[in-house]
Each structure stands twice: as C-alpha cells, then as structure tokens.
C-alpha cells in the first residue's frame, strides 16, 4: 500500500471514528443511567455509573407480564415483516413496468406517505372497528402491512437489474411471479434486508396505534407494556432508560442479522451483466 493510500485510509478511519463517537455518546449515557438509580438531573453529571446494578432490568419482569407483551410484539412484527416483503415486492415490481395510469399511481403512493398518522387516528380506529379487528394481532399489524418507502426501495432495486436477465427469464417461460421470486429477489438482497429492518423497527416501536386499538391488557405490545412499567417508578430514574434499552435491543439484533446482506452485496460487487 502506498503512503497516499495509507493516509487516505487513516483519514477515513478518523472521520468514521469521530462520527461514531458522536453517535455513541448518547448511548453510553443511556446505558450508564440504566444501571443506576441516581438523580439524573444532579449537577455535575457523573461520567461513570456509581454502584451499577441490573435491578432496573429485572424489575421489568416482575412488575408487568413481560413475556406476554414480548410475544405480542413478536407476533405483530412477524406479520408486518412478512406482509411487507410480499406486498412491497409485488407493488415495487408493478411500478417498474409501464402501464396507463402509472403516474397517477406513483402520485397516489407518494401522497399517501404525506398523511401523518396523528391525523388519521379516529378514522383508522373506526375503520378497524368496522372490520372487526379491534384488539387483534391483525388489527395491530394492519396499518403497517405495507409501507411506501419500502416499495420504492424494491422498485429501485428491481430497476437496477439488467433487462436482459428479465427478458431471458420471460423467454424461458417464467410467470411474472416466478420472475420476481427467482430472478429479481435474489439480486435484491440489500433491498430485502432494508425492508426487513425498517418494517421491523416501525412495527416494533409503534406506540400510539397499539394504545388506541387494544383494550385488553393481554393484547398490548412491548412499548405499551414498558410504559406501564414506568408508572410504577419515577420517570427520571434509570428505569426509563432500561426501558429504552430493552425495547431497542431486538431492533438492533434484527439489523445485525440483516446487515450481513449488505456485506455480501459489497463483496460480490453487485456484479450483474
């Protein structure tokens, strides 16, 4: 390696370390507070946790039916992720083709993105009620079964696949559905990974919708359950941060699992055509 390249690499590392540090400082603070019960508003702030303990994490299991909430969250997120991959891939593929009214459909999708959830609470509840899906897993998952951002991710990924491959498959007599599954999806691993990660995060962290739609405590999801837990303890102690960490952990886990797809994509260099 030449000196120039080595310096370039050092610079890159330096920049990345700097940015990473900025990202991590708040996390260190969260973790530090999650393992203590100190008054977080005291001055001066302490850099190291004093008398760390894991009680905050343990308390969660005692105060609320944690396994049940965890199960609910897992089921709902599983439904959401599975449907997202299926529906978004289908819609993304359809959008790569030209058809009359395509611009209208694109506009429709884009505008749907611009409608905030807070403005839809009451009608969404009434609609879900009419569908008879209140207090149910499907009801919890329904509004998130497809997301426009992820449709566009698939669309972009499919468009990047050379037409020659698709044409060849069509000549071979594959049906459209087969084309998606056999040809496009394997070449869009990164897009699938992104879909999985995002759909999981959005459904896992959802708070307002489950709050409205579940009345029975047994159907509540983890963020709701953990917010319940906070009512037992002060909002300013480490309990809050233990809460944040516990809700965060699965999402990070999913990301790390899906992350490998990015690496594979990198090393293969996306060699197509």
């Amino acid at each position: 390696m030449t000196t120039m390249r080595r310096r370039g690499t050092y610079l890159r590392h330096a920049a990345l370390v700097g940015v990473s540090a900025i990202m991590l400082v708040p996390f260190y603070w969260v973790l530090k507070t999650a393992v203590t019960n100190e008054n977080i508003y005291a001055y001066p702030p302490r850099l190291l946790p004093e008398r760390p303990h894991l009680f905050n994490f343990v308390d969660v299991w005692y105060f609320i039916p944690f396994p049940r909430y965890l199960l609910n969250s897992v089921i709902v997120s599983a439904i959401v992720v599975a449907c997202n991959i299926a529906f978004n891939a289908m819609a993304g593929y359809a959008l790569t083709k030209n058809f009359p009214g395509k611009r209208a459909v694109l506009l429709l999708f884009l505008s749907c993105m611009l409608i905030p959830f807070q403005a839809t609470i009451i009608p969404a509840y009434l609609i879900t009620s009419k569908l008879g899906l209140l207090n149910s897993y499907v009801g919890l998952a329904f509004p998130l079964l497809s997301t426009i951002v992820c449709i566009f991710v698939f669309k972009a990924a499919f468009e990047a696949v050379p037409h020659s491959l698709v044409d060849a498959a069509r000549i071979d007599g594959l049906s459209e559905w087969r084309i998606i599954v056999r040809v496009l999806m394997p070449l869009s691993k990164a897009a699938i990974a992104t879909n999985v990660v995002l759909a999981f995060i959005w459904s896992w962290n959802a708070f307002l919708w489950p709050l409205i739609i579940t009345r029975e405590p047994t159907m509540q999801t983890l963020p709701l359950g953990l917010a319940r837990f906070l009512s037992y303890l002060e909002d300013t102690t480490g309990a809050l941060y233990a809460f944040a960490v516990m809700v965060l952990a699965p999402s990070i886990f999913v990301f790390l699992m899906a992350q490998r797809e990015f690496i594979r994509g990198l090393t293969s260099g996306a060699t197509k055509g």
Partner: protein, 415 residues
C-alpha cells in the same frame, strides 16, 4: 326419514328444555373503569373491584389505566366510536371540558336524590366540576397549590417566616438569589400560577365567564414585576418553561428558596431531594390563602349502557374505596369523613405530610384558577403563550396582555 312421532317427541323435548332454562340468562353486566396513571395501586383497585362484584352477581368491571397524555387520545377515540368507558377519571379542568362536550352524565339528579352521597363531600371541591350549575363528577382525590420553602435557605437570607404578600414573595426571592440559587419557583400548567395574580386582585374573566377582565394596569404591573424578577434570577426561569420534572427537580436539588406547587409535588421532591426533612422543609399557604386546585374527579360517560351500575360503582369507590386510597397514596380524597380520619392518623405518624395535607382542606373558599369553562384548554392556549412571552423577556407586558385579551375574547365568543 323421521317419523312424525319422533319429530313430535324431539320438538316437545326442545320446548320443554327451553322453558326449563333459568329465567335470567342475561349476558353479564359489565362496566369499564378508566383511571389516570394510578397503576401503582393495582392491588388496591383490584380489591375494590372484587368487593364490588362480590355483592353483585353477574357484574363485571373492566379496569383500564392510562397515563395523563394518553387519556385524551384514548377517550376521544372511544367517544367517536361510541364505546367510551363507563366510569372515567380526569384531572383538572378536563372533566369540565368533557361535560361541555356532552360526554358526561349529569349527576345532579342522582345527587339530589341521594343526599347522603352528596353531603359526603367537601362542597367547595365538589363544585369544582359543576358546569353550568350541574354536577358532573365526584371527587376522587383532590389537591391544590401551596408554598413549600427551603428553611435553611430562608435562614441564610435572614428570613424568619414565609411571605405573606406578593411583595414579600418577590422580596424574599430577591434576598435568596445568588449565583447558584434562586428564590422562587412555581409550576405553570393548568393555571397553577394563578394565585400570584389572584392575590393582587386580578380576575381572568368576568363573573359570567363571558369577557376577559385581566387586561388592567395592575395586571400589567404584576406581570412586569414577575418578568423582571425572572430576569434577575430571583424567580427561576424553569417556572415558566418547565412542566413537572424540571421545576420539582430544581427545588429538590436544594438551591431554590420557595416552590409554589400542589401537594403531590412533595412526594416527588422528597424522592429526589436528600435535604428534605421535617426540619428543613417549610409548608405554608400562598399569601391570601389563594390556591389553584388540580383535582381528580370521577364521572360517568353519557353513552354508558349501565349508568345505574356505574353510579353504584362511583359511590362505592368514593366511599368504601376512599379510605384505602387516602392511606395508600397519602392524599386527600374530598370525602369529609375519610379525610378527617386519615388526617388524624397522619398527625401522629407523619407530621410533615400531615401539615401538607392539612393545607389542602383549608381556605377551600379561596380556590382560584378553576373557572368552570367548557373550553378551558382553548382559553388557556390563548392566554398562556402570551404571558410566557412576557415572563421570558420576549414581549412587553402591555402588548402581550392586549394580544391575550383579544385572543381570549375570540375563544369566549366561539363558546
């Protein structure tokens, strides 16, 4: 091919079995009970429900608990869908707003018919939820503002007693102000700061709640002085920018002379402040005895399918349940007999808490900041930001109060 005889036999059998079924095979009577962030008392409430249904076969009570910010969203959605909880617990003026909205059952006829139930409660607090002359809620637990003060800081500044006038407050605050300490802090949500104006003879609205009456030279002067004191650091700025955690936390940190807050603040401050002991924490009324209440009430949704059962439950909770609530949560329930008994016990076991809770039952005729407005939050939204602008030095008092007057008048006209 079924013979006619078999048909007749089975038909008769069916009819007989139907007639033999228990005469009352109704679905269980169910009511739902929504509480405001009281889940730490889960065993107590479950106990109430168990005792309530024991004497009433076929009755079920569903209990829901939500945190404060979640309740409006939850309740309004349920209201729009036609399935609101039968018995609901609200804080502050929200009960009045729901009453004005038409969501709550008018309890006046029931209270008239059941004088014992009505007389159980402190009349001044009961009238907190009287909208247009009708009662819509019963007290669940009640609080109002008082003055906490840091005795060591008072002594250090050479002050011997808590202030007895508005001027004295500002004076004392100024004396206790140093580079690290401030003299006075108040909570600001739900009109909790209003006693500062009431003690200067300022009224927000006319008696008929139709016109704003706060744009007076006196009010301008008071606001100006508050703003100047804030700028000088005598009044801690968090008074006007914080909500619950910041102001109480600041007082708990031990470098604020006075805290003007309602009684639950004590428990937060005690939890966070290592300096708090009966010797170091002073308790007093605000000058003039003026206080803003911030109480929790229980009401019945008009859309309830079982209003009588809900009323039964309401009476049960505020009577049989009140005792336990008062003891567990160390608060005043508004139920006269229960409160007298609990306070008598507390005087021996925890004199400091006793002195705090005693203030909640004194000067109940001097409660201010609780106008019976059906559009309380709109009026608040029209008034408070303007006031905040002055107190934080962004606007002068004269312009801000004039602007606020205009906005409040608009809201009142809209009704």
């Amino acid at each position: 091919m079924i013979s006619r005889r078999t048909l007749l036999k089975s038909g008769t059998g069916a009819v007989v079995s139907v007639l033999a079924m228990p005469a009352i095979a109704q679905a269980p009577k169910k009511i739902s009970f929504l509480t405001w962030n009281i889940i730490d008392q889960e065993p107590m409430i479950r106990g109430w429900i168990a005792r309530f249904v024991k004497d009433r076969p076929g009755v079920e009570v569903e209990w829901l608990d939500k945190k404060g910010p979640e309740i409006p969203v939850f309740y309004q959605t349920q209201l729009a869908a036609g399935t609101p909880p039968d018995v609901i617990n609200t804080q502050g003026a929200l009960g009045l707003e729901y009453a004005a909205q038409g969501a709550l059952l008018d309890l006046t006829p029931r209270l008239k018919a059941d004088a014992a139930a009505r007389d159980r409660f402190n009349a001044d607090y009961l009238s907190n939820w009287a909208y247009e002359g009708n009662n819509y809620m019963l007290p669940f637990y009640i609080t109002k503002t008082l003055l906490f003060y840091n005795k060591p800081l008072f002594q250090k500044a050479g002050l011997s007693a808590p202030p007895h006038s508005f001027d004295a407050i500002l004076d004392a605050a100024q004396k206790m102000t140093t580079a690290d300490a401030s003299g006075f802090l108040t909570l600001n949500f739900d009109w909790l700061y209003w006693p500062l104006y009431a003690m200067n003879g300022i009224d927000l609205l006319s008696k008929d709640l139709a016109k704003p009456t706060f744009n007076t030279p006196k009010a301008i002067e008071v606001t100006d002085r508050l703003a100047k004191a804030t700028e000088a650091g005598a009044i801690n700025k968090i008074s006007w920018t914080g909500r619950w955690v910041e102001p109480n936390g600041a007082f708990a940190a031990g470098n604020v002379g006075m805290l003007h807050a309602h009684s639950p603040a004590y428990f937060f401050v005690k939890g966070q402040g290592k300096w708090v002991t009966p010797e170091t924490l002073g308790v007093a009324h605000a000058p003039g005895g003026f206080a803003t209440p911030n109480s929790h009430g229980l009401g019945i949704s008009k859309a309830s399918n079982n209003p009588d059962l809900a009323w039964d439950f309401l009476k049960f909770v505020t009577n049989e349940g009140a005792q336990e609530l008062g003891v567990n949560r160390k608060l005043v329930t508004g139920n006269i007999a229960v409160d007298n008994k609990n306070l008598a016990d507390l005087e021996k076991t925890d004199p400091l808490v006793y002195s705090i809770l005693k203030t909640q039952l004194e000067h109940t005729d001097k409660m201010v900041g609780n106008w019976r407005l059906g559009n309380d939050s709109k009026v608040k939204e029209a008034f408070w930001p303007e006031l905040q602008n002055v107190l934080l030095g962004r606007k002068d008092a004269k312009t801000a109060l004039a602007d606020a007057e205009r906005k409040v008048a608009r809201e009142l006209k809209r009704g």
